[in-house]
Amino acid sequence: MQRFSPQEIVETIRMVQMEKLDIRTITMGISLRDCGADSIGVVERRVYDKVCRHAARLTAVGDQIEREYGIPVINKRISVTPVALVAESTGTSDYVRIARALDRAATEVGVNFLGGYSCLVEKGATPGDRALIDSIPEALATTERVCASVNVGTTRAGLNMDAIARMGEVIRDAALLTADRDGLGAAKLVVFCNAVEDNPFMAGAFHGVGEPDTVLNVGVSGPGVVLRAVETAPEADFGALAAIIKRTAFKVTRMGELVGRAASEKLGVPFGIVDLSLAPTPAVGDSVARILEAMGLERVGTHGSTAALALLNDAVKKGGAMASGHVGGLSGAFIPVSEDIGMIEAAEAGMLSMDKLEAMTAVCSVGLDMIAIPGETPATTLSAIIADEAAIGMINRKTTAVRLIPAPGKRVGDSVEFGGLLGRAPVMAVHTASSEGFVRRGGRVPAPLQALNN
């Protein structure tokens, strides 16, 4: 029998109850590759049946684990095979019907988001990919829980600038079709470079083609726990600070490992990976920005923010990598604006700009995330922002993503409110000089050299 000291027990309880340690998501990946058919009606039925069959117990198991271990499991979610791969055989373009079938299935099994209304077009698009991309605005406007993503570049393939040009329009249209909800549709759409196939986090989750039939991936969280650890060491130098963050990340990740293994056993689904990301929520005490500020920055977004984030991101990975048998997904610190109270406040105070956020994405996971920008922003500017962000990912061999909300009718100084985990966001300024000529060129940006790095 192992004994635990009161300090250990209290530390764990404090992490959960006061510092908001939680399991952000258990996400079941479900392959839809056996759901293809000539008829869209048949695909619809097969997709719905398969998701409902495999995920029937997902939420119940998540709730059971929460009770047994006393660790909140915030979200139960589903990722599926990129829908373009499944729908293409139908020869129709009415893919929205599949989005609706997925939405019904997600509602039926009680998950709040289902990702995978997706396609991978880093080198070019098939007719099915194009049909899917064209259908994204309507699919997001007419469903509640379905999330879409499109991969437009990789380090090995370069950037598909035709797809990037198109995605600027798609983001704009997704926002316009949901103008009554501040452009919420665009908040469910991610444009990736170097997308990963086992990401459990929304809105960018999809079930990659190299994955098994079903798999369980876990996303941990714990910005509050890391914040508290950083706050206890105001005088520590960077070596000591990194060590503190590593130790904390280790403990947080162990919880993810435990919950992932428990859920996988209870569901009879193979355990995939733990995603080590620090995922903030709008709740006070659950902010990544606050960690950077606790390192000695008056406000996130000021000079030093990129270095602080680089240290945090790396230390979280080092600590977490030791704690789990299989680390994957995005694994890094997320810096969404609307979902992080520290980011929201810095943006409202005019201390955080798009340009600084872009720089920060070069050293953290993911990218320009949940940023509201003026509704009148031209689609070509959206595309140019995507191109910049994708270029950072392509050159640095990392995942980058863009999730922007061109809020219809809103200007800089206004704010948008999505509620819940998606939070609220002040509308931030973008550069107004046109990028149209650049975006209009089309074609592909060649894959970068993998040597002569400097």
């Binding site: 029998m1 004994r3 635990f4 428990a262 056993e265």
Partner: protein, 99 residues
């Protein structure tokens, strides 16, 4: 040999009581556990940051009530007494504090 890649199949839970010290805490918790035929394997208590902390390791192997039920009874008793009483599977602490 336990399989390190697997969650344990043990029925041991950690019951933790945190709050102001007062007469009868151990008796109250022990009564609930005895009524549920849950076996107390170990008890420790200490004062941390002015709070009374009591920790019990409890075996539910032969328990007559479900873990869920027991957890709720303990939580209710905690509310009655102005304390926080949690019951969590021991794996939580094993995973976090033992490698």
């Amino acid at each position: 040999m336990t399989n390190p890649a697997s969650v344990s199949s043990s029925n041991r839970v950690i019951v933790s009581v945190i709050g102001q010290d007062r007469v009868g805490i151990i008796a109250a918790v022990a009564t609930i556990l005895a009524d549920a035929s849950a076996n107390i394997l170990d008890i420790s208590q200490s004062i941390m940051e002015e709070f009374f902390v009591m920790i019990m390791m409890v075996d539910l192997e032969k328990a007559s009530t479900s873990f869920d039920d027991l957890r709720q009874r303990l939580a209710r008793k905690g509310e009655e007494m102005g304390l926080r009483i949690d019951a969590q599977h021991e794996d939580v602490f094993k995973y976090m504090h033992r490698v």
